[in-house]
């Protein structure tokens, strides 16, 4: 699990947020979530099954996402995940925290001696 995260270059602990965000756009099955993250990041992040499924279990257990078996566009059965109310709230909070953090990090990284 951990090595997979490193391979895909994902910052530790952000996978859950990315999944929540992806599912926030529309309900999606497992493979679709992986592909969607890869597409949106323009191939920067590749999330494999070994990372995705434990993350789904974690989020499902904490009541942030909910699974439901449906037919895909190709007429196959797949488990579609969607956000719960709690999941939406968590996503909002995590996005807010993330923006605050990255902004702060960006400021630190841009700092030069004259501004201090």
């Amino acid at each position: 699990m951990a090595p997979a995260d490193k391979q895909s270059g994902l910052v530790q602990g952000t996978l859950d947020m990315l999944i929540l965000k992806t599912l926030g756009l529309e309900p999606m099955h497992g493979y679709g979530v992986g592909i969607r993250i890869e597409q949106i990041s323009q191939g920067a992040f590749q999330v494999n099954a070994g990372s995705l499924f434990p993350a789904f279990r974690r989020l499902e257990r904490d009541g942030l996402i909910r699974g439901e078996w449906r037919m895909t566009e190709n007429n196959r059965r797949a488990k579609y995940y969607s956000l719960t109310a709690g999941g939406r709230a968590t996503l909002r909070r995590e996005m807010r925290d993330w923006r605050a953090q990255t902004a702060a990090i960006a400021m630190i990284l841009q700092a030069s001696l004259g501004e201090l």
Partner: protein, 891 residues
């Protein structure tokens, strides 16, 4: 909230495991299908897409494992999985599992047995009382030290009752069982009563099985109409559990007592003696001094804590009361204090000694447990060698080292739980056996040794600790195994495993030798106690005790009767000499205050003497020589100058450098006897010291003998020196019949029987040490055999080469034997050093044991050498029969 949700979802997953598994399978299948579909859309062939998708996904099982590992429930599952796997492995190796579990059962069982006994005697109150945790026992201390005689004067009990505020209520009971005669004449029966205060049952919270128990409502005044409560056992045995006995009267010591009720079945009193009846103090006639003097040592005191009080508060308060009493009544209470402890069948002041004894036994059986653990660890290590390949495969396909260690520890754990449960059954059997084989005491003994929560926790904790101790080293050891060499499966393992096994064998031999030496030292000490020069000749002397007051004899008729009894007995055939005495050595003396005019008492408190009342001929009968002065004679009777004979050591202490004959001493009240003021006695003789085996601090009391004619006692013991092979019981029976006495028949017991407390302690310790020593010996033999056989197997090729190169049989024997015997030698050296250290401790705990007994030490070494040689025999034989050609082809 989150934790609760996780908990619930975890349980749901555990319960609906198959459904979750199906769902995960379906999802992964859908994932794979979607991936393949996408690759096909991108232009791959179906077969190419299929392969690519599978490569991308990796091992499906690993993905599933990752998903399963989310949440705490996976740990439970993994544990359960490990357990099942371990159970299968053990099931497949019944010989290994059986041997290991059996030896563990012995080790854990023996330890648990000792703990159960200590628990029953020291840590819990006697059964049948309510809320036992709030009950306390109060003992006496002298000069701040616990004393072996914990009894408190009745007057002091009243002081305590008046002054104590941290206890709800107090009770007291007479320290010695009170023998009473039930019925009359020949049908009379001797029973034992506990004399208690009226508050006894109320404070303890005992419930009746029939009728009522006496309580605060019943008068503590003298002469209140006598009542009695029967014990359940006595009621069943004597009255067939007939409930109509309540309200009837029994003749006890010639007085009518009304039976008011029967105590509950569980309640058999607060100590280890189980008596027949309880009689309130008001029904017993005491002399006046008993009620007013704080000197007599009478009874045991107990109480119940107030709801808001702690035992520490009680101890503090009792300290203050002790000081106040010493200030208020310096003559009687100087140097005296109190000791309080949670209620248990052993009085607080004796618990330290008892605890020391149990600690000794515990140390002995713990050694066996350690040896067992070393043995099992050795077996586990040997098994581990056989499993190197399996473990290496598991590590190679990605099992973490921690996971492998956990799996191996689980196996050990299962083994130890099996051993532990079997050990618990073993302990159960041992304790019930113990209760059955208790030596027959004069007074019935009741031991309640339940396997309570504390014992269960002890056995479980012990099993777990032992499992971790003996499982960890092998588990860590294998998990370190190098995957590559492991997979190559060379039968030659790394040599440090052998080193670990050798260490275990050395430990087994060392601890085994400690046990065997201890058993030897104790056994020889036991022989020494019996053959010790006691100062008198106990062989052939038999004793029988009577209570003349029970048969209605008075001071004058009693003395005449007793002397007539002795006279007639002297004429019986087989009887060589007869004497009468109050007490017989070594069972005890009445300790009481002693005043020597002109001799300043020590600062710590009044002098005390060990008093014995004897009739003429006592010293002759015991062959206890007088070293100065004269013996008592018929002229020393009531109305003449009171005389005394003092033992050598006491005389030296009182009048160093002076002639003791002609000196004067004064006697005050003894026990619950009359307090007739001071009697001045003239010392007429000095007797040789009794070398009694006693232990403990402080100077021994001053032994004083006074003549029966001047100090009557209704407690008469007949001492008869019998011709060889003759017993006194029939002779005494015949004399009693010829005297037409109203006394119940008595059984004579040999004076040197081995039921003295020291002998019993030594015997118990020696037999425990001997039996665990035997187990240790067998285990050590198994260990030596195992390691030598393993070496031979490992070095088969090398030995083959040696033989091919022309090595003689004797060289091979030397090679293999050397390997095994070096371990024995190292173990022996360590063991001897340990035993020498342990011996010093032993002599402190048990009298008569000599720490560096050459016979015990030498014998143990020889024994282990023989065992070591025997254990090496088979491997050596195998080694010499190795066929060089075959061995060279041996893998």
């Amino acid at each position: 909230m989150v934790i609760l949700r996780r908990l619930i979802s975890g349980f749901r997953r555990l319960i609906h495991k198959p459904r979750f598994e199906r769902e995960l399978d379906g999802e992964l299948h859908a994932y794979l299908e979607a991936a393949i579909h996408r690759k096909v859309s991108a232009g791959m062939t179906r077969a190419e897409a299929d392969r690519a998708a599978r490569v991308e996904m990796g091992s499906i099982e690993a993905v599933k494992d990752g998903a399963r590992d989310v949440g705490w429930e996976s740990l439970v599952e993994a544990f359960w999985q490990d357990m099942r796997y371990a159970a299968r492995l053990l099931w497949r190796n019944p010989l290994f599992a059986g041997t290991a579990a059996f030896s563990l059962a012995v080790g854990i069982g023996a330890t648990t047995t000792i703990f159960t006994v200590a628990n029953g005697l020291l840590l819990r109150a006697a059964p049948g009382v309510s809320d036992p945790r709030r009950l306390v026992d109060i003992s006496r201390t002298e000069r701040g030290q616990p004393i072996s005689n914990p009894l408190i004067a009745y007057r002091t009990y009243l002081d305590l009752r008046e002054r104590v505020s941290t206890l709800d209520a107090l009770y007291a009971q007479q320290g010695q069982p009170e023998p009473m005669i039930m019925g009359k004449g020949r049908d009379a029966e001797r029973i034992f009563a506990t004399i208690v205060t009226a508050s006894y049952f109320d404070v303890l919270g005992v419930s009746p099985a029939a009728g009522r128990l006496f309580g605060r409502g019943d008068s503590e005044e003298r002469g209140a109409s006598p009542i009695v409560v029967l014990s359940h056992g006595f009621w069943k045995r004597r009255f067939n559990a007939d409930p109509s006995i309540v309200g009837q009267t029994l003749q006890l010591d010639g007085e009518p007592f009304t039976v008011v009720g029967v105590a509950s079945e569980e309640f058999r009193g607060t100590s280890v003696v189980a008596l027949d009846v309880w009689v309130p103090l008001s029904a017993k006639a005491f002399d006046n001094g008993f009620l007013t003097s704080r000197m007599p040592e009478w009874g045991l005191v107990g109480g119940r804590l107030k709801p808001d009080a702690s035992i520490g508060q009680v101890a503090a308060e009792l300290d203050a009361i002790g000081r106040a009493l010493a200030a208020d009544y310096p003559n009687e209470s100087r140097g005296r204090g109190f000791l309080v402890a949670n209620a248990s069948p052993i009085p607080p002041s004796m618990r330290l000694v008892a605890a020391g004894f149990f600690a000794l036994l515990m140390a002995l059986v713990s050694l066996v447990l350690i040896i067992t653990c070393a043995n099992v660890a050795g077996i586990l290590l040997a098994r581990a060698a056989a499993r190197r390949r399996e473990i290496a495969v598991r590590i190679a396909i990605g099992a973490g080292r921690a996971r492998v260690v956990r799996q191996l520890l689980t196996e050990t754990l299962l083994l130890f739980l099996l051993g532990g449960s079997a050990g618990l059954l073993f302990a159960r059997a041992m304790t019930s056996l113990l209760i059955k084989v208790l030596p027959a005491f004069e007074v019935p003994v009741a031991l309640s040794l339940p396997l309570d929560g504390r014992v269960l926790a002890f056995a479980l904790g012990l099993s777990l600790a032992a499992a971790v101790l003996s499982g960890l080293a092998p588990a860590l050891h294998i998990s370190k195994a190098d995957v590559v060499t492991g997979l190559k499966d060379e039968s030659q393992g790394p040599s440090d495993r052998l080193r670990v096994r050798n260490t275990f064998v050395v430990a087994q031999v060392a601890f085994g030798i400690v046990l065997v030496i201890t058993a030897g030292v104790l056994g020889r000490a036991m022989g020494r106690v019996v053959s010790i020069d006691q100062g008198f000749d106990s062989r052939g002397v038999e004793t029988a005790s009577f209570d003349l007051s029970q048969a209605g004899y008075t001071n004058t008729t009693g003395l005449m009767f007793a002397r007539e009894l002795a006279n007639r007995l002297r004429k019986m055939s087989g009887v060589q000499a007869v004497a009468l005495a109050d007490q017989v050595p070594p069972r005890g003396m009445s300790v009481g205050p002693l005043i020597a005019p002109g001799v300043a008492p020590p600062d710590e408190g009044p002098l005390s003497g060990a008093w014995n009342i004897v009739d003429t001929g006592y010293f002759e009968t015991l062959r206890l020589p007088l070293v100065a002065g004269r013996d008592f004679n018929d002229g020393d009777r009531a109305g003449t100058q009171p005389v005394a004979i003092v033992a050598e050591a006491g005389a030296r202490r009182l009048w160093p450098g002076q002639n003791p004959v002609g000196q004067r001493i004064q006697r005050q009240a003894m026990g619950a006897d009359a307090l007739g003021g001071l009697t001045t006695l003239e010392v007429i003789g000095v007797a040789r010291d009794l070398r009694l085996v006693t232990r403990g601090g402080g100077p021994p009391p001053i032994v004083v003998y006074v003549p029966l004619q001047q100090k009557y006692t209704p407690h008469i013991t007949i001492l008869a020196r019998m011709a060889e092979g003759q017993h006194a019981t029939p002779a005494i029976g015949a004399v009693l019949r010829s005297l037409n006495a109203d006394l119940p028949p008595a059984t004579a017991r040999p004076l040197d029987d081995e039921s003295g407390p020291v002998q019993v302690q030594l015997r118990v310790a020696a037999s425990v040490a001997a039996s665990v020593g035997l187990v240790a010996l067998l285990l050590a033999a198994m260990g030596i055999y195992g390691v030598t056989a393993y070496t031979v197997a490992r070095r088969t090729r090398e030995i083959g080469i040696r033989i091919a190169m022309g090595a003689q049989r004797s060289d091979i024997v030397r090679l293999v034997l050397g390997q095994g015997m070096v371990l024995v030698l190292v173990g022996c050296v360590i063991g001897l050093a340990l035993a020498a250290a342990a011996g010093r401790l032993l002599t402190r705990l048990l009298f008569g044991a000599s720490p560096l007994d050459p016979v015990a030490f030498g014998g143990a070494v020889v024994l282990f050498a023989v065992i070591g040689l025997a254990a090496c025999y088979m491997p050596v034989r195998r080694a010499t029969q190795i066929d060089a050609m075959e061995a060279l082809r041996y893998e």
